[in-house]
């Protein structure tokens, strides 16, 4: 059975601030959905709700028809949804291999310690970090930390990955390589992926479907090329005048 993550009419209030005012989206295993929007539009909040890091104020989140909203994040991971952090949070005192092995042990696979270490080795070669396997995570570069973040999410055995700005802060070659890597892994392993992203190039290259949220509401969705030409989207990103200017 292929996994399907469905959020319906999700709202989230932080005190008086309405971070999300009713957003719906679906991520199917094997597909890539891009989630874009200006700063403060609620992207990371939505991702946290989907991952189980926070509870929605109202609305439902289901994985394969089973409600996941309200479950603690570690249970949601066990059901097959894993997220990465925008700013990587590796376990600094542990080696790269151990970082990934923890995820294999406590994620959906429940691997034993020995098996988990083997799994970690395989995964690290997939993300191109075999040479760093025994490095202590505190000594990694930003680029490697991001790759580790990805490897750790995959190691949980998740079928749906929620990637929070994995491409932010990368440029040129690094960016191209990272986009290729995510694309390759997604195709080979068939994950459903939700990419929350500022970097347009990444979203357009990877996603089959794009959802645009502004101030906690969906203002557009569809194929990437359609969405970027949508006047409402251009307005949200660049301001009214540009959107109305003759082309």
């Amino acid at each position: 059975m292929t996994a399907r993550l469905v959020a319906q009419n999700v709202r989230k209030d932080f005190g008086g601030v309405q971070a999300l005012r009713g957003v719906s989206l679906t991520v199917d295993e094997g597909s890539v959905v891009g989630l874009i929007g200006p700063n403060g539009s609620g992207k990371t909040t939505l991702l946290n709700l989907l991952a189980g890091a926070e509870k929605p104020t109202s609305g439902t989140i289901e994985l394969n028809g089973r409600r996941t909203d309200g479950l603690p994040i570690n249970r949601v991971v066990g059901l097959g949804i894993a997220k990465t952090y925008q700013i990587p949070r590796p376990f600094l005192a542990m080696t790269v291999r151990e970082n990934v092995a923890v995820a294999a042990m406590y994620g959906a696979f429940h691997r034993k310690a020995g098996e988990a270490r083997d799994d970690a080795g395989r995964l690290l070669s997939i993300v191109g970090m075999d040479r760093q396997a025994e490095t202590v995570a505190a000594e990694l570069t930003v680029q490697h930390r991001k790759q580790l973040e990805l490897a750790r999410a995959i190691a949980t055995g998740a079928r749906i990955l929620l990637l929070d700005e994995v491409f932010a802060g990368l440029s040129g070659d690094e960016l191209a390589r990272s986009i290729n890597l995510v694309s390759k892994i997604q195709k080979e392993l068939g994950f459903g992926v939700l990419v929350v992203e500022h970097v347009m190039r990444a979203v357009l290259t990877l996603s089959g479907h794009v959802v645009v949220i502004v101030e906690g509401r969906t203002i557009a969705e569809g194929a990437p090329q359609e969405v970027v030409h949508d006047p409402a989207v251009i307005e949200a990103y660049l301001g009214t005048e540009v959107a109305r200017a003759p082309t």
Binding site: A51, V77, R89, A93, A101, A103, M105, A113, A116, A153
Partner: protein
């Protein structure tokens, strides 16, 4: 089947414990008493190591579990007619039960807030217990057990052996990975599926169980339970000092820390002019370690001497 290799640290500790176990009956009585007192320190160090060492949650309240163990022994012997060993087992059980109960509430807090709640629990216990007349009120319980050095010795010896074995088992398996993840970044640990709340509660329970058992043996050696000695904050501090000095969360650290804290503690008590200075010396030592080598002796050796990393854990 592959024969498991346990590593030099565990073999070394096992050797020390075997030697102590075999030699003690033949040693002079004064040495026996000192070894019992030393092993009480070791027992407390490993007890706190389960919680503070392995999860990173600092507890000032472990003297409470000691006190609970002590009162369990006193109550068991005096009111229920238990033999001392059964009193120690009762102490372990009640230590674990109270730790889990207290942990269910206090483990919702993190970092320094958790540390403060443990201090509050300590102050509450210290003030409540002397008011309970069933527990002897302010004058405590006297047991009149007589002097039983070998029984006391082998009881605390067994407790320490169990602690060392369990520490090894916990740190080398699946549980150890999860705990290191929690200690490093609790939110990120949950994000990869670690059930942090449950793991912390289990470790707090184990920690309380061993502190309770050790506290019971301590009361046995005094043949009395007094509110003042049962709930003595300096025991909490001594436990912290031992694992900070030796290396929190390590297998050898608590033992090493116990040696370093016990020796001056004991020596100073025998020299009239130094009496009372032991806490100042231990405090200064902790301060120096915290400032210059915050990972303790074992952590520092492992960090700066890579060749020893395989031997010292």
């Amino acid at each position: 089947m592959r024969f498991p290799t346990f590593g030099p640290t565990l073999y070394g500790l096992a050797l020390v414990m075997v030697v102590l176990g075999v030699a003690t009956p033949f040693l002079p009585i004064i040495v026996k008493v000192q070894l019992i007192n030393f092993l009480l320190f070791v027992g407390l160090a490993y007890a706190l190591n389960f919680m503070t060492g392995l999860t990173g949650y600092v507890s000032f309240g472990h003297a409470v579990f000691m006190g609970i163990g002590a009162y369990a022994l006193g109550g068991g012997i005096d009111r229920l007619g238990f033999p001392p060993l059964l009193g120690v087992i009762l102490g372990a059980g009640l230590g674990a039960a109270f730790a889990v109960g207290i942990g269910l509430v206090t483990l919702r807090f993190r970092g320094v807030y958790f540390a403060i709640t443990t201090l509050v629990v300590f102050l509450a216990a210290k003030n409540i217990v002397p008011e309970i007349s069933e527990l002897g009120g302010g004058s405590g319980i006297f047991m009149n057990l007589g002097f039983q050095p070998l029984a006391e010795f082998y009881t605390i010896w067994t407790i320490v052996v169990l602690e060392i074995g369990l520490t090894y088992w916990v740190t080398h398996g699946r549980l150890g990975y999860g705990l290191r993840a929690i200690k490093s970044d609790e939110d990120a640990a949950k994000t990869v599926g670690v059930n942090a709340s449950r793991l912390k509660l289990i470790l707090f329970g184990i920690s309380g169980m061993f502190a309770g058992a050790t506290g019971a043996v301590y009361a046995w050696t005094l043949s009395a339970v007094l509110p003042d000695t049962g709930f003595d904050i300096t025991y909490s501090l001594r436990m912290l000092a031992m694992i900070i000095i030796g290396g929190a969360g390590t297998l050898l650290g608590p033992f090493l820390g116990a040696v370093i804290v016990y020796v001056p503690y004991n020596y100073f008590q025998t020299v009239q002019s130094l009496l009372g200075l032991q806490l100042a010396v231990i405090g200064a030592l902790v301060l120096l370690i915290a400032l210059f080598i915050p990972t303790g002796i074992v952590g520092t050796v492992r960090r700066y001497v890579p060749t020893l990393r395989r031997y010292v854990e």
